[in-house]
Symmetry: C3
Subunit: 306 residues, 3 copies
């Protein structure tokens, strides 16, 4: 079944499920899920073939990892049947971090090490399958950041390393200092935010053969609620393709649109609703032809390609 | 005589005449030229030293290649005394292509192969000297596109391969998959469209030692007809240099301005008027000094260099 | 003492003092300094640990180098205890250069050679420690420029070569033709002009391990005199950090903000006032922590980091 599909981030490197569960909004609903509810969510996700779970230290004001960990502790599956991803580097202004006087970044070795230790403790695991530097830090000393990343890898706490929101130049800088590959760049991309298509980021990924992870793959909701002409046109184009392909769902087509790209994009799905997740997984069975793909791009850009 | 000059696109690679005949507008006039008229145009062009002819499958709504081929069949010269260039990858919405529901791109191996076969048939030749991917395709799978290009080269149907309108990142991606060099990037450039001077494209070309081909080298006519302050100022600057150099013609100086660039730009001339072509060829005998070149840039940018 | 600190521009390459004296405005005051006054300025600068002096052929309308050279001739110190930097490539419209009809660039070998000879004569020295190409020249023939630079290096007239205001692509082009490293890119950067942080220039410098020199490190004065909301906010952020660190001076903190960057930025200080220079040198003893550094960035950008 297509939802079994996995994807190697780099040739011979770590693999994730073709779609990733994004835990970003785990605690965003009115009623926060208890451990049992989280365990059920994990179970449902794995049943759908989504075995990779995307976290960051800061999600939910530094509280998501711990809540997810409580659910994981109750979950009956094996640790090695899933992949846990986390991130570090952003320092939030938060009651949880009274020392932070303003939002800033820290990509120093000490912070990487401390943040990984906290993520492991909160998630209740002894390794992360993948650790990402969350944002490009203008103060990143690449030698030091690389040394920090090497240390957590050598200690067995982290199995692979990537980045998020990096430009090509920032990616190349960090990669130049590491003895192992940077296996992904997690970037924002959707039918409503297409700059990575042309600014070199996906060209670089395809050239270097790493698979970008995609955050906000549905445009952060504005795809469905946006009132502008552009959102309207994109919804219309998606609807038409939904009808043509039998996908019957605009969001499913928006994900299938991402899966069609040759750079091998790995969408991170942020919904906490089991029925939505089940619907989105159907994107794996929908293959857009070129004209369908370009009809959506044309709607997004408001003009035909040149 | 200067108009004999040829240019190697890459060291040891294929060579073109220093100026190229652009067949884009072959059928744009009121009365379409018959085969005899096209044969005369080819003859006149070759007499002027312009032996390279730039085509694309889509020119004239997919009709230019065939009309040119009819002329070529009547022309008395030898096939190996001229160079035929074509392009593929754009899928026009056209009565000729009823399957195309919207303008889009296809850089897949099957389309490359089919398009080359059609170009060969239409032109009445058994090889293209140069095939270009016409536009960067956001769905380009570089492995597949490269395999498609290799196939037509190995079959002897295409002698060299290039691209058009590619960014540096797109060029590097495709080049990374090919066992032979990408010999040119055909880009828009003129005294009115100078972005390639500073956005890295000409730096890359010079560094890698390939000669960019230039489309719309006269700014698509707005240089002569444009009513804005900028067009006015650029015409004035060109006129002054025309007088100083004895070129006696604004358009000739606009071409000489391109020829002065160290990246070795190869202008594609779009005029179908023999007397215009003869005039433009005189650009090969006009050498601008640095101050003349910069006076035209200054007029175009509306300010002195920083 | 910290002001003794020196910095290698590239590993094993030439070193400068950690801060550089910029001679740009040497003749800008009402009363032009005589040779004795210049000698005192040199002495004072060296006493402060600033042994590197940044020039260009064109500074002061082609007159600064000669005025500085007169002072240098009276100065009692040894030539090899200081570093002289100059630049070439800009052709000013100036009474001193009647042949220049408009401002333009010349990066040809003949101009490099002639300009270096004039700089040596004007400064009264037989070598430059560092020569920079002053601006990226759209007509730069990299082979020829590199040959010109090699010639002055081989002749012993220039000990190391760099560039100024180059993009990464322009830097890489020239570097690809040289048998020795390009040791710096002197760029504009300050708390009010931060584009080099994110456009790849500092990433490239850090990756290649060359130290960028920084011109206009205080924003050309608008930091102090600017009336806009942005200047106001940046001054307020600098003031707060000045109080926290004991720096007691907004400009000193603005320099310390530059020194904190991991790409190893080398500010060129343009003040001719000994007491200002002494104050700015104190930046070497001020180390901003991450939150202080980001508070200034936040004030400059008008928003927290994403």
């Amino acid at each position: 079944m297509a939802s079994d599909k996995r994807i190697e981030l780099v040739p011979g490197g770590p693999s994730l499920s073709r779609l990733v569960f994004g835990a970003w909004r785990l605690l965003d609903g009115g009623a926060k899920p208890d451990a049992e509810a989280v365990a059920r969510l994990i179970d449902m996700s794995v049943d759908l073939g989504i075995t990779s779970f995307d976290h960051a230290d800061i999600y939910g004001g530094y509280e998501v990892e711990e809540a997810f960990g409580a659910g994981l502790a109750r979950w009956k599956g094996r640790r090695d049947s899933i992949e846990l991803i986390s991130k570090c580097g952003i320092m939030l202004k938060s009651p949880q971090r009274p020392a932070n006087r303003l939002k800033h970044y820290d990509t120093g070795a000490a912070h990487i090490s401390a943040s990984v230790d906290r993520s492991l403790k909160n998630l209740g695991t002894d390794y992360l399958d993948l650790l990402l530097i969350h944002r490009p830090d203008p103060l990143m000393d690449a030698d030091e950041t690389a040394a920090g990343l090497e240390r957590v890898v050598k200690a067995g706490k982290v199995r692979a390393v990537g980045v998020s929101n990096f430009t090509v130049a920032q990616f190349d800088l960090l990669a130049s200092r590491l003895p192992f590959p940077v296996v992904t760049n997690q970037v924002e991309h959707s039918v409503l935010e297409t700059s990575a298509l042309t600014d070199g980021r996906f060209d670089h990924a395809q050239r270097q053969r790493y698979a970008p992870m995609i955050w906000s793959p549905l445009g952060g909701g504005s795809l469905f609620t946006g009132d502008g002409q552009r959102e309207h046109n994109v919804r219309a184009a998606l609807s038409l393709v939904a009808a043509e392909t039998g996908a019957h769902d605009v969001a499913t087509v928006a994900i299938a649109w991402l899966l069609r790209h040759p750079a091998r994009l790995v969408p991170v799905l942020g919904t906490m609703k089991p029925e939505r997740l089940a619907q989105l997984v159907r994107a794996l069975e929908v293959t857009l032809d070129r004209q369908q793909w370009f009809s959506i791009l044309e709607a997004s850009e408001g003009r035909a390609v040149p």
